[in-house]
Amino acid sequence: MPEGFVSNLYVFLLAGFLGFELIRRVSPLLHTPLMALTNALDAIVVVAAIIIAGRRGTVLSYTLGAIAVAAAFSNMVGGFLITDRMLRMFKLSGRKKP
């Protein structure tokens, strides 16, 4: 078994359960921003892509890595941007402002 497999499995399991508990509490009102935000967080794969694109490798690994960096980073930038734009639109009525 590759190094770290068991500890990764622990982390996966715990993060999965934590995810369930966190997401369950998100109001259905915000399900669209939720999807946009988790997309942006998932774009953290960009850190792996950066390493593939920048470390010693082959032409293939540079190319695939660079495309992956662009794809993931566009999700990160676009995802945070649109989540915030959506959330800014959610308002309470009239005088009942928080």
Binding site: A15, G16, M86
Partner: protein
Amino acid sequence: MNITGMDLTTVQYLTDFSYIIAIACFILSLKWLSTPATARRGVLVGEIGAGLAVLTTFFNPELVQFQWILIALLVGAIVGIPLGLVQMKAVPQRTAMSHAFGALAAALIGISEYYLHVHDLTKFQMVEISMEVIIGCLSFTGSLIAAGKLQEWLPQRPIVYKGQNFVSFSVLGAAVLAALILIFNPTAPFVFPAMVVISLLFGVMLVTPIGGADMPTVIALLNSYVGLTAALLGFVLNSKVLVVAGALDGSSGFILAVVMCKAMNRSFTNVLFGAFGQLQVSAKAAEEERTVHTATPEEAAAILASANTVLIVPGYGMAVAQAQHKVRELLDVLGKKGVDVKFGIHPVAGRMPGHMNVLLAEADVPYDKLVEMDAANSEMPQTDVALIIGANDVTNPAAKTDQSSPIYGMPIIEVDRARTVMVIKRSLNPGFAGIDNPLYYIDKTMMLFGDAKAFVSGIVKELTGGGE
């Protein structure tokens, strides 16, 4: 090479700690997203975490060149910023595109890992890489097809043929077979590219037969797959930050998919392989003409103005007609006349989870005016007028009464229990899923035929003009 001059262990520790902080930020981010009051703080903390992780990655001692990374980041920003600025009506297809990008990135990293280590891969690593690449590739093309359907570049109706499920499963089987060959012989020529191509093909075959009305579930499922891909990539690369981010994203998509399925009273298998709404051979089509009551904007305005409580039920039709701003004007003018107006939101109204809420928020409808299905139903007997704008199946009483209906058992907003029902609709043609709606023929229903935006604007004009 090391751009900071720090020794390698120090750099490694700093990277690890910054990734741990990033993970903590992500968890807080999702926690704060739970209510609108704290949600924007959640975005900010997510940005801080992601930014920190990206910055520290630049100090990784393995990096030997930066120009391609910087160009790629620039390209990503150039593509990502417009995608973050799309109009709210385009949010479902934007979301599908971002699933495609996420899956693409993860799949490409997996592919590149395979080719870099092909000569010293263990069986176990090969299992991980194969799973990651198969799911990543199928999510990529599946999401592209979903985006194409939502953008209406592809037909939204389910595209089906005889023996489809058998063919699709054979294709998936071929991908798994290729993976098995690779596990025993990672260097087998052409098998890896074949596995990639077959998986890409399967993604197309998986989503093509699914109709537009099922898109909320499909988008949520694809979201879950993308998260799973990222988590698997974390296993491949032994990177815990990816495992956590992927698990959070995956569980989010999964929960949303379950919510959507429950809201339609259907199972995952039924959504994926049921090709909903393909051949609705309407038994009632042969039946003699049934009568409907129609009304003009003037008549509708008069009834709305004299009501005490109005429930507006929006659906995809409102999004298509871009009627939400006119609907907000209607809310304002009725509010001035002392009419209590609420919006009843069905979980699967629209094309993605929460679609209606975002559209109405865009039109400045306060979110405390939006009520969920159960709350709307419990207030229904006290509701004077239920006004349905571009929603069809989610209000179809056949879901409760007609066992032969394909949507039998689906929870609906029970507008037929309101005192008066108004339906704004282009024509009597059955809705998207092609299911006949008995609501239109009952005595207390008034059909308001016309474009949603034009009709609502007619009502508003009548109310403002006649009210002074």
